[in-house]
Amino acid sequence: MKYKANIGSVFSEMRILYHQGKQYIPDVTTVEVPGIFRGRPVIKTAAAAGAGADEDIRFLPDLCPTGAIDLEPLRIDLGKCIFCGDCERACPSRIKFTKDYKIFSATRNGLIIREGEDQKMTIKADEVRKEIRKYFGTSLKLRQVSAAGDNSCEWELNASGNVNFDMGRFGIEFVASPRHANGIVVTGPISQNMAEPLQICYDAIPDPKIIILAGTDAISGGIFAGSPAIDRSFLNKYQVDLYLAGNPTHPLTIINGILALTRGN
């Protein structure tokens, strides 16, 4: 009887595996996101917008909840944008969010999308410190620090390693100790109460090391920018190597961003 039960158990486990089908995304650099996705925006110039071009856009900076929109030229700062899509709804002839999830940059200014631009966001070799691609081009271990993150970017960083997105296939993984890490991924606007633990964690990572900011809150403070409870002085001290836009950052943005930084686009 016991022997029989064991055989049965193997089969039920295999049946479950079989029922899952193929879950991994074969090519995470080209797959399309299902449904609506607000990725890299494309802003048309007034001339290119044609018939609807006389639409008034002066109200847009005030409409944006995080002050991500500026005029002359009309531009959106993806480091501040929370991707609510209200500007697109208010001004559809000029602003359109595309499904391009490759929204990252090695420089802060690289996150600003101006009218008339419609180019893929890339990371150029001269924007990357030399040691990064040399040492981390085939394997990268990261330590994650949630510095007052709201647990949305944290969920998506976790999801990057699940069986669907499987970031581990590239040798990119999150590790439990800063001593085992090649860099730090910060989420959240960085609260005063997390400023010291973040610094201690960063100091514990051996050189050479990188800093990645994931999500709008980390990049600019997002909706918390200006709160007296946050302390972003850590970011004034070090060069940030990679900005991953999104609120929260999508796993495909995370994976493609890290690949672009460490291996080229």
Binding site: G85, E156, S191, M194, S227, A229
Partner: protein
């Protein structure tokens, strides 16, 4: 019968109608009310006004669906100490700790007057998060283990201090506050409605629907706006879908913490299509942008009805098959059963809410007792387990998943037409008080607001269910092996940022 004002969930009342009682009477009233477990405190907070503090206490009456509201005015000058509610009923402990921390109000007999979150505007600026007054035991046979604030996985920060006897936990103290962003204060600084909505979405990014629904209900009540059937319908579907998504993720995480790889992978991948359905609906996997005050920004279209139907047709057999397999494995059950027990008596005494309470046989479910959205029309029966262990909290998730899916399937069979009777949103009414309760996947979420004489927000209070339940985790791990702490922690899955605000 009482001196308290009886109000309903999401009912606007005039500030002047809220009774102001002498402190002793205020204390007697609220501590007597909560002697019966059908009554529990959903929020208790202080509103500083010059050199006075006005204390507001909101007690939920589970038998009638009322909320009993009372207040008291005390001096805000450190001139005297007040007897605490907590000495009579421990469930008030965290509210009084918060009042003390924020305003400096002194209590003469509070049993555990520890810091809650080290907020930026705390009364005692000399207190510092790096110098928390931990409970200590002098003994050569015991040792302390400190964990955090940064943890080994991708998880929010908090510090756990264990006092252990060998491998066994004698005592755990949980220190929070690392996530404090000043949310309540940010609601007050001049902001437009969209900014406040985005703020509500960011209170806890894993409970976007729960908190934003509470905010939207509150704001609409402040403006005397009656949302149309289509708005309420869509929000109800979203609430239940969020429950399914997070519960699935939790089942995956529970499997991970007992090294059951198959369950971890299968539940992990099953969560993906659920949150991708939010993506199809509103463009965000965690549903940011879905709930907007006074409108139905993303209606439940026939495409969404098809998407949800297809999702559940594929999700249900795989999920139940995996769960049924998991619960037959002795190696799984040995880790879950009789681990991390919160007894019914403890749950009631410390005022647990939500899933944590229901796993210990304490029925606390706002959908049932204080219905909002269209829960009044759903014959909702809370799912209750009685052992209070990790396995009970696991079972609750499994059964709430199928219950939520049943509700959603019923709801999408009959979607109301769009935009019927949704008027323009006006501005908030002056001198008003509103309380808004929702049942997020963790449990009861409470938002309270007070407006001044021009209709501007004068006070905004947020309470995440985690505020009640963190103490339950600390009690649950006593006499457990320290190696079982991760699985205990995961079985509660409490919010750090929801607590720290």
């Amino acid at each position: 019968m009482t001196n308290a004002l009886e109000i309903k969930n999401n009912q606007r009342v005039q500030l002047k109608d809220i009774p102001v009682l002498p402190y002793e009477e205020f204390l007697e009233l609220n501590t007597n009310l909560t002697k019966d477990f059908y009554f529990h405190c959903v929020n208790y907070f202080a509103w500083p006004q010059g050199n006075q503090l006005r204390l507001f206490c909101c007690i939920a009456d589970d038998t009638t669906g009322h909320i009993l509201l009372s207040s008291s005015v005390v001096a805000h000058d450190n001139s005297r100490e007040y007897p605490s509610f907590s000495a009579k009923n421990l469930a008030f402990h965290v509210f009084e700790r918060e009042i003390h921390e924020n305003t400096g109000l002194k209590y003469s007999d509070h049993p555990w007057l520890k810091p809650v979150r080290y907020p930026v505007n705390r009364a005692d600026r000399n207190s510092d998060i790096s110098n928390y007054p931990f409970y200590q035991i002098e003994s050569e046979e015991l040792h302390e283990v400190g964990v955090g604030p940064i943890h080994a996985g991708i998880i929010e920060p908090g510090h756990f201090r264990f006092i252990c006897n060998g491998e066994q936990i004698l005592h755990l103290e949980i220190q929070l506050g690392y996530q404090h962003r000043g949310v309540e204060q940010l609601f007050l600084t001049p902001k437009n409605l969209l900014q406040r909505t985005v703020l509500a979405e960011s209170i806890a990014g894993d409970t976007v629907i729960g908190h934003t629904t509470a905010f939207a209900g509150l704001w609409e009540s402040l403006c005397d706006f009656t949302p149309g059937e289509d708005i309420l319908h869509a929000r109800t579907i979203a609430s239940e879908l969020e429950r399914v998504a997070i519960h699935t993720g939790d089942l995956s995480a529970i499997c991970a913490d007992i090294a059951y790889q198959l369950g971890n992978s299968v539940f992990g991948r099953l969560r993906t299509p659920v949150i991708n359905t939010f993506q199809k609906w509103c463009g965000c996997r965690l549903a940011k942008g879905l709930i907007r005050v006074g409108k139905n920004q993303y209606p439940v279209t026939p495409y969404m009805v098809d998407s949800l139907t297809q999702l559940f047709d594929e999700y249900e057999p795989d999920t139940y098959e995996m769960y049924d397999r998991m619960k037959t494995l002795p190696s799984v059950l040995a880790r879950l059963e009789r681990t991390g027990i919160v007894t019914h008596e403890q749950a009631e005494r410390i005022g647990c809410v939500g899933m944590t309470a229901r796993a210990s046989g304490l029925i606390r479910d706002i959908r049932w007792t204080h219905p909002y959205l269209i829960y009044g029309q759903i014959p909702h029966q809370p799912i209750v387990k009685h052992h209070g262990d990790v396995y009970s909290r696991t079972q609750i998730r499994r059964h709430e998943i199928s219950q939520s899916i049943r509700y959603i399937r019923d709801l999408i069979a009959n979607v109301p037409a769009e935009g019927n009777g949704n008027p323009e949103l006006s501005s908030p009414q002056p001198d008003s008080f509103v309380i808004s309760l929702t049942e997020g996947w963790r449990g009861e979420i409470c938002h309270c607001a007070i407006t001044n004489d021009t209709g501007e927000l004068a006070l905004y209070k947020v309470k995440d269910p985690s505020l009640h339940n963190w103490l339950a985790l600390a009690l649950a791990v006593r006499n457990n092996d320290i190696s079982d702490f991760p699985i205990c922690n995961k079985s509660f899955n409490l919010s750090y940022c929801g607590n720290d605000l």
